[in-house]
């Protein structure tokens, strides 16, 4: 008996348990609501179906959220990612639209390199403000969030730039090995970040900076450099996500591209178990978090509810997840019901909300 209870607690206590459980419950609820939800079919040698769509559409969010995870784990936040998505998409589409042969691979690669370069410079700007000048991250990145939308509109001259480029389109809609290319790009980015942070000391250093930047500096870690680096990386991730978003619709809209993606990304990171206070980060949790958000968005669409109203559901999820994580909330509950493990009592909330 004790052994099964112990094993039960280990499973429940695993940090990925609740995010994964929420995702599964959501998928189950969707399948009950719409029996064909999980079916996947093969068309023209490619796999099609709602689960594939969710994976494909969550790719940009996964990318942005990966960068955001590292930023948040240093105790910071990057509000400028949405604007960066818009800027990178705008630069790439603008360059391609001005070339005589939009289908040339060289043109597309030049466009991508240019846009990525500019985004990295803007990420470095964020990094300098936070790490060198010492401005609060939320404010430092707010500047680029406000001005960045303006920049994106400046680049596209306020127009929606439409392009007709097959190689560029492939970033969002192309296929590889029967699966959408976007999934592989997101997966590659995730593996790359995981390899760099978890197979080297980098991840631990980032966590130590997030835990206490001053102590880390005294312990010989160049905190400033690490903080600078995560903002540059976040901008790079946002840039690639921006390519995907614009490639999906073959057009760049400085005003609307990447709107609110920063909030979704923060949400994904928080759902994944990374604390906003910094000091720990969980890449796999973030990916599950991003999938949860995309599943939520897709299910809300499927129920013929307007996209804006899905914000209502997101609000409930944010608060529920934050409450579960909050030590003060757990303490309140465990004081009242000592015999029940605290997360189990509180975490019923998102489960109930999701199918609603």
């Amino acid at each position: 008996m004790n052994d099964t209870m112990g094993r039960y607690r280990t499973v429940i206590g695993h940090r990925l348990f609740w995010p994964a459980a929420v995702l599964i419950v959501m998928l189950a609820a969707n399948t009950i609501y719409r029996p064909g939800f999980l079916s996947i079919e093969v068309k023209d040698g490619h796999l099609y179906g709602t689960p594939i769509d969710i994976l494909r559409l969550s790719a940009p969010l996964i990318l942005v959220a990966l960068g955001m995870t590292l930023v948040i784990s240093t105790g910071g936040i990057d509000l400028s990612v949405g604007s960066l998505c818009a800027i990178s998409g705008a630069i790439a589409c603008m360059y391609i639209s001005k070339q005589p042969d939009q289908n040339s691979l060289g043109v597309v690669l030049t466009a991508l390199a240019m846009a990525l370069g500019v985004s990295l410079v803007l990420g470095a700007w964020n990094g300098v403000l936070v790490a060198v000048i010492g401005i609060q991250p939320i404010i430092a990145t707010l500047i680029l969030m406000v001005a960045g939308r303006g920049l994106a509109q400046l680049i596209t001259e306020g127009q929606i730039i439409t392009i007709n480029s097959e190689p560029y389109r492939a970033i969002g809609l192309g296929h590889m090995l029967t699966l959408p290319l976007a999934i592989f790009i997101a997966l590659a980015a995730a593996l790359l970040v995981a390899a760099f942070t978890r197979r080297s000391a980098l991840g631990m250093i980032i966590e130590s900076v997030g835990g206490n930047a001053e102590a880390s500096r005294l312990a010989g870690i160049r905190s400033g450099r690490i903080v600078f680096l995560v903002y540059v990386l976040s901008a790079g991730c946002a840039a690639i996500a921006g390519f995907m978003m614009t490639a999906n619709v073959s057009s760049a809209d400085g005003n609307a591209a990447g709107l609110w993606v920063e909030l979704d990304a923060i949400l994904a990171v928080v759902i994944g178990g990374t604390s906003l206070a910094g000091g720990r980060f969980f890449l796999s949790g973030t990916i599950i978090g991003a999938l949860i958000i995309q599943t939520l968005t897709t299910s809300v669409y499927a129920m013929d509810i307007s996209p804006q109203t899905s914000l209502l559901f997101k609000a409930v999820v944010v608060i529920a997840v934050c409450l579960i994580q909050a030590p003060a909330f757990r303490a309140r509950f465990s004081r009242r019901r000592r015999n029940v493990p605290p997360p189990a009592t509180t975490a019923d909330k998102p489960k109930e909300q999701v199918p609603a």
Binding site: I135, I143, L312
Partner: protein, 329 residues
């Protein structure tokens, strides 16, 4: 000042450091106005200034609420959505034939209630204001489209009268009733911050929450109060916006929270809390308003320049505050 003259004669003309950001904003405002007047003859009309107030009355009210929150070291991201939700609720209730007085009461209750709830979650469960108000933002914006996906026009008599009433001087310059309401809010807020116990508690918590707690100040009550005040100001702002546009639209005031934060910061309120004035916030809103007016007068510049200029100013002022902070630490 006396200590300054005692320690060193050279620093006699030193500006009081707490006022430097506000004075910088004032100087900036005067310079921008000067540029406007020298470039365009019509810019010197008194009505231009009045129009800045007419177009930004709701922004001013919301910024006043945000000043309270930022003074305690918090932040409220929900304001833009609460403004939109208030306008939307008013429009929907009026469309359904509810009497205007009742609509006003209901609309003015929703904002503070949401603010109170957010304040309680922030205080009792120790969750960061940023994330709680983010959820509030999602919630209020979601409610907007839940009420209606399309914009709802307001044809109610009281609303149209409030919208069109002009209060003018003999020269024919006028302001709207919204501007007067905004001034009343500003006056009450300035009084509350400067002369009441609540005001002193707000500054104390922003300065150092631990000390405030040790001093026996009601930290929790004050913290919850500022989010409620911010909610109330957003609700008033929403009503003023509905007077201004005579409609409720689900996507109205998107991103307004950033304009509001920018106005408060440009007005000299320090984002870590503890220092700032309502007067500064008024100046901050005026700076944003005059930028927009300049860009409109120019004609060749597009609206996105507003965002870029606001971003640059935000940067300049944060840098200024940071430099002042470092030098005097």
């Amino acid at each position: 000042m006396t200590t300054g003259s005692l320690t060193a004669g050279r620093t006699r003309f030193r500006l009081p450091r707490k006022q430097i950001p506000v004075l910088a904003t004032l100087a900036l405002l005067l310079v921008m106005y000067g540029i406007g007047v020298s470039q365009y003859t019509a810019f010197s009309n008194v009505q231009v200034i009045f129009n800045v107030f007419i177009d930004n009355g709701f922004l001013l009210v919301v910024a006043v609420g945000m000043t309270f929150v930022i003074l305690t070291g918090g932040i409220d991201l929900s304001v833009g959505s609460v403004v939109a939700m208030t306008a939307m609720v008013s429009a929907a209730l009026l469309r359904d034939g509810m009497p205007p007085a009742l609509v006003l009461v209901i609309a003015l209750l929703i904002g503070p209630t949401l603010g109170l709830l957010m304040g309680c979650v922030i205080h009792f469960f120790e969750i960061q204001p940023f994330i709680v108000t983010l959820a509030g933002m999602f919630f209020a914006r979601g409610m907007c489209t839940f009420i209606s996906g399309a914009s709802i026009p307001i044809t109610d008599g009281f609303w149209t009268r409030m919208s069109q009433e002009r209060i003018g001087d003999p020269q024919g310059n006028f302001v709207s009733i919204s501007v007067l309401i905004a001034f009343v809010v500003v006056a009450i807020a300035a009084y509350a911050l400067a002369y009441t116990r609540l005001g002193r508690n707000v500054y104390a918590i922003g300065g150092n929450p631990q000390s405030a707690l040790l001093m026996g100040l009601p930290v929790g009550r004050t913290r919850i109060a500022v989010y409620t005040i911010s909610g109330l100001c957003s609700a008033i702002g929403g009503i003023l916006l509905s007077f201004y546009t005579l409609s409720g639209a689900p996507l109205i005031a998107v991103g307004m929270e950033l304009d509001v934060i920018a106005a408060v910061v440009i007005g000299g309120t320090v984002l870590t809390g503890g220092a700032g004035y309502i007067f500064g916030t008024v100046l901050g809103v005026l700076v944003l308003g005059v930028i927009q007016t300049l860009i409109t007068f120019d004609g060749s510049l597009n609206s996105w320049w507003t965002k870029i200029v606001i971003g640059s100013l935000l940067f300049a002022f944060i840098l200024l505050q940071r430099l002042i902070g470092i030098r005097y630490k």
